[in-house]
Each structure stands twice: as structure tokens, then as C-alpha cells.
């Protein structure tokens, strides 16, 4: 099985706004302690699926989610990270990079080769190489003074 890694076929990724450009050219990497748990499906359209507000003041990034204010910092990655985006050409569930836990049917090793080899269709494209990340490692602080900013502006 061969999974090619390519450059993006279309250069459709919009650039980051000017004052975020030092974090990357088309994407940002935010590191959160824990993870973002989302229940339900975010509604499409403006104002739907809003998580919070990301602010970049000089060197200090902050993230406000509801009444929680997270203070972050910009960290240079020890090793640059390539951000790969998975592309599946035919709409079928293709295997990703096999993890060690995957079962290994060792018998008939050579017989399954033909099948194995045909498992194409998946590829990864290198969206960007990121060198910096924004880490939010502190505990969130409660904010009560400025309500209803995070909710997105409505016309």
C-alpha cells in the first residue's frame, strides 16, 4: 500500500490576518490542556458554532470561552511540525496510518498482498510547516466584567 504525501492541489487556503502572520502563514496551532468537547452539531451560517474569542495583543494571546479567560503564550516548537490534511479520493473509509494496536493477520501474508496493494485513494497533503504554537497551559480565569463579546457580532 502506498499513501502519497503531496502538496495541496489548490492554493485555496486564505492567509492569516496580518498580525497573526508570525504564527504561520495559513494556519494557527493552538494547544489546549484537555480537549474541546462539543455536543451537538454546530449550526451553519454566521454565529453558529462559535467557541469563543481569540485575541492577540502584542505577544500575548488570550482565548475567551464563555466566562473563562485563558492566557496563553507563543512557543517555538522544538521540531517543526508538518500539518498534513487527509484526502480521500473515493468516498470510502480508507485506513489511516496504521497504529500499533491494529490487528496483524500474519497468516497468508503473501496472499493478501494484491488486495493490500490496491488500497489506494488516500493521500495526505502538507498544508503547512508550523514552527510556533500557542499554548494555553494556565488555569482559566473567570471574567464577569465584559459580557456578550464572545458571542459574535450580529448585524
Amino acid at each position: 500500500m502506498l499513501i502519497p504525501i503531496t502538496r495541496p492541489s489548490t492554493s485555496s487556503d486564505p492567509p492569516l490576518p496580518p498580525n497573526l502572520i508570525k504564527l504561520g502563514s495559513t494556519l494557527l496551532l493552538l494547544e489546549l490542556q484537555g480537549s474541546l468537547v462539543v455536543s451537538g452539531v454546530p449550526e451553519d451560517g454566521e454565529g453558529g458554532g462559535v467557541v469563543g474569542e481569540f485575541t492577540m495583543n502584542e505577544e500575548k494571546p488570550t482565548l475567551r470561552i464563555g466566562h473563562h479567560m485563558l492566557e496563553g503564550k507563543v512557543v517555538t516548537l522544538p521540531k517543526p511540525l508538518a500539518v498534513l490534511r487527509k484526502r480521500v479520493v473515493p468516498a470510502s473509509s480508507q485506513p489511516r496510518i496504521p497504529t500499533p494496536s491494529e490487528e496483524s493477520p500474519l497468516q497468508k501474508e503473501e496472499d493478501d498482498m494484491m488486495l493490500d496493494e490496491a488500497a489506494g485513494g488516500t493521500s495526505y497533503e502538507v498544508v503547512e510547516v508550523v514552527r510556533k504554537k500557542v499554548v494555553f497551559s494556565r488555569r482559566p480565569a473567570l471574567v464577569v466584567d465584559k459580557p456578550a463579546v464572545a458571542g459574535g457580532k450580529r448585524p
Binding site: P4, L36, M56, L81, L84, R96, P98, E117, G152
Partner: protein, 374 residues
């Protein structure tokens, strides 16, 4: 107006969410990814049951997913619409979440699978292909093999060459040593008989000659000569030394059943190679593949370094089993295949670690096993 520095952060619509992977890039890969070429020639290879490897054109890397307790969010700006507030209204979208980072480490290519795949694909002359039976046997194309053998293009190329694998009619066929020797001798005969100059063999003419003289198919010959020298569209610049060496190796292998002294071996080798190229013959070409006899015995021994273990301790154990003590210059060729064995400092360090040095009466330095528990 001041630059906007607060951005609304939202989840991308589920239809737009994608699977992302974060891959650590070692310096060599970074330079490939950052180069201007449009074709990265990076590929993830292996069967589903394998641990995946990443191959560049020339090297192989293992991939290991490391789970991290933090979540990484991939955030991209939404494409700005022409209408609406313009640049001041940029929102950031969370396109994906990643929970592990893939570490990349340089690795040795896993070529051993190649031997298994090539078993039963031996090319034994054209006639055999007419046989009905052979049609049922499993044969592989280069593409199939390259998808399963976890090695980069260059490493696979080298592995195929070391294993003497040919491209015949779109399939990979391994060439057994006996066939190879026969073909090489045929090549030499025709080169002499039709007075081709080794430095510039006209390819089309030469392939015709081989077909006429020895009934050997063109694609087989073309594949074989590419291992010895440099083949372009119209000519072959032959590397006679390596061709002569290969014949010598074939003869050495036969020593297992058919012992002879070094002088006899040399004569036989000369006879096989023929007068025109006899001056290429030198035992140095076969360095690392034979042992000179110890005084009581007179026969040359086939002792290929490629069959020795690659771990230093095991290799030294084998070497001292074959011979209780070694002269430095005799031992050296058998240490080259060890990791780092190309450098003299590494070899010396290994010697000091695994062998004991002693000096003979006339100043020769001998190496023997470090511990002797008898």
C-alpha cells in the same frame, strides 16, 4: 484604524471538518518539504499489518504516533467574503483537532521481505516460460513490490540489484547465481568475438549480438549490464572490474562443493574471464568474501561477510569461531559491514572492545577473542 486583534473563534461546519495529522520533521525532511519542487516524492508504505514507514526518494523513516494529553487545534481563517465588513471581520475556524503527534526517525530499510517475495520467481531461461505450470506461479510487478517492501526508491533499487532481480516483461524475476555466471561469460565472449570496446558498447548492436550468439532475450541482458556500469539509451559504459568480480564471486560460491587452492582458483577465474580481461583479475576484488588457507590446509574458503551477523558482538564471536586469531589486515574487510564500520576509528574502537591484541615475534599484530573460558 488600528489593526484588528480580536477574532471570533468558531467550529468549522461538520462537512468541512477534516482529518489532520501533525508530523515532526527532522532536518532532511524539512528541507524536502520546504524545497520549491512540486513533487515531494514522500510516501507512506507498508501493509496494513506493518508499522508504517515514510519514505523519501532516498531514505526510510519509521513513524510512531505519540499520544499527547493536550489537544491541538488546527485553526484557519475563513475565506473572507466580498460583502460584509471586509478584512476587519475575519473569523477563525477550528478545522480539526489532533490528539497525537507523529514522531519520525530515520531507519534502515526493511528489505528482508524482498527475498520472500522473490522466491519462486527465478528466471531460468526463456524456455521455462512456455511451461504451463509457471503461469500459475505468483509473480509481482515493481509497483506491487514497492508498495509492500518498506524501503525508499533508491534503497529498493539497490536491494533489487544486490538480490539480482531483473525486470522481465513487466515482472520482477530473480536471477539465480548459476544463470548470472552463464550470462556474464556469454557477455564476455561476445564482447571479445565482436570486438566491442568496454568503454563504449553500442547498446542496440550489443543486444542484437547477444540475441544472435547466445539466444538471450534483450530485456534480460539490458537488466544485467545495468548492474555493471552505466547504461544510457544508446551505449553501455562497462565496468569490467565489477563484472569480473561477479564472475569471481560465482566461482568462490562453488568452492563449497569443490575445494581448490588459491592458485587453482586464480587459474580457473582467468580461464572463465578470458585473456582479454584477465588483467582485471585480482584477489582484492573479492575482499571480504574469502579466507586464505591457514598453513596446514591449502584450500581457499568461501567466507562472505554478508552472511555474518550485523551485531558487533555476534559478528566477532563468529569470526573467532572461524579462526582463533586474525591479522589486522585480514580482519578488516569483515568489519566493514558493521554499523559505522566504514570509518577506521569505529573499527578500531570495536577491535579494542571485542578483541585482544597481541604481537608476534616478527612484529605482526594478531587479534584474538577477548575472553577464553576453556
Amino acid at each position: 484604524m488600528a489593526q484588528q486583534n480580536a477574532y471570533s473563534l468558531r467550529l468549522a461546519a461538520s462537512s468541512e471538518q477534516q482529518t489532520y495529522r501533525l508530523v515532526e520533521l527532522p532536518p532532511e525532511l524539512l528541507s524536502i518539504v520546504e524545497s520549491e519542487t512540486s513533487d515531494l516524492s514522500l510516501t507512506i508504505k507498508g501493509k496494513q499489518s506493518d508499522d508504517a514507514v515514510l519514505c523519501s526518494a532516498s531514505s526510510t523513516y519509521t513513524l510512531r504516533a505519540v499520544l499527547v494529553s493536550n489537544a491541538f487545534l488546527i485553526v484557519q481563517p475563513t475565506p473572507s467574503n466580498a460583502e460584509g465588513g471586509g478584512e476587519n471581520n475575519t473569523t477563525l475556524e477550528i478545522k480539526g483537532q489532533v490528539k497525537d503527534i507523529i514522531e519520525v526517525h530515520k531507519a534502515v530499510p526493511k528489505l528482508d521481505r524482498l527475498n520472500g517475495l522473490m522466491r519462486g520467481t527465478e528466471w531460468n531461461g526463456e524456455d521455462e516460460d512456455m511451461d504451463d505450470r509457471s503461469a500459475k506461479r505468483r509473480r509481482y510487478t515493481y509497483e506491487q513490490v514497492s508498495g509492500v517492501v518498506q524501503a525508499s526508491r533508491d534503497e529498493l533499487e539497490e536491494g533489487l540489484r544486490d538480490a539480482h532481480v531483473l525486470h522481465v516483461g513487466g515482472e520482477l524475476r530473480s536471477l539465480p547465481p548459476s544463470q548470472l555466471s552463464m550470462i556474464l561469460e556469454a557477455i564476455l565472449t561476445s564482447m571479445v568475438a565482436r570486438s566491442f570496446s568496454p568503454k563504449h558498447v553500442r547498446l542496440a548492436e550489443f543486444l542484437d549480438a547477444m540475441e544472435d550468439d547466445h539466444d538471450l532475450p534483450r530485456d534480460v541482458i539490458r537488466g544485467v549490464i545495468a548492474w555493471y556500469g552505466d547504461v544510457s539509451e544508446e551505449r553501455w559504459r562497462a565496468d569490467m572490474a565489477s563484472l569480473v568480480r561477479e564472475i569471481g564471486l560465482g566461482l568462490l560460491m562453488d568452492l563449497r562443493d569443490n575445494t581448490m587452492s588459491e592458485a587453482d582458483f586464480f587459474n580457473l577465474w582467468e580461464k572463465k574471464v578470458g585473456d582479454s580481461f584477465a588483467n582485471e583479475i585480482s584477489m582484492d576484488l573479492l575482499e571480504g568474501y574469502f579466507l586464505r588457507p591457514e598453513p596446514p590446509s591449502k584450500t581457499l574458503i568461501y567466507f562472505p561477510h554478508t552472511a555474518l551477523p550485523t551485531a558487533p558482538a555476534a559478528r566477532f564471536a563468529d569470526l573467532f569461531l572461524a579462526r582463533p586469531r586474525w591479522r589486522s589486515e585480514d580482519l578488516e574487510p569483515f568489519l566493514r559491514g558493521l554499523p559505522g564500520g566504514d570509518g577506521k576509528t569505529v573499527r578500531d574502537a570495536l577491535l579494542v572492545k571485542f578483541a585482544r591484541r597481541s604481537e608476534g615475534e616478527n612484529g605482526t599484530i594478531w587479534w584474538s577473542a577477548r575472553a577464553n573460558y576453556t
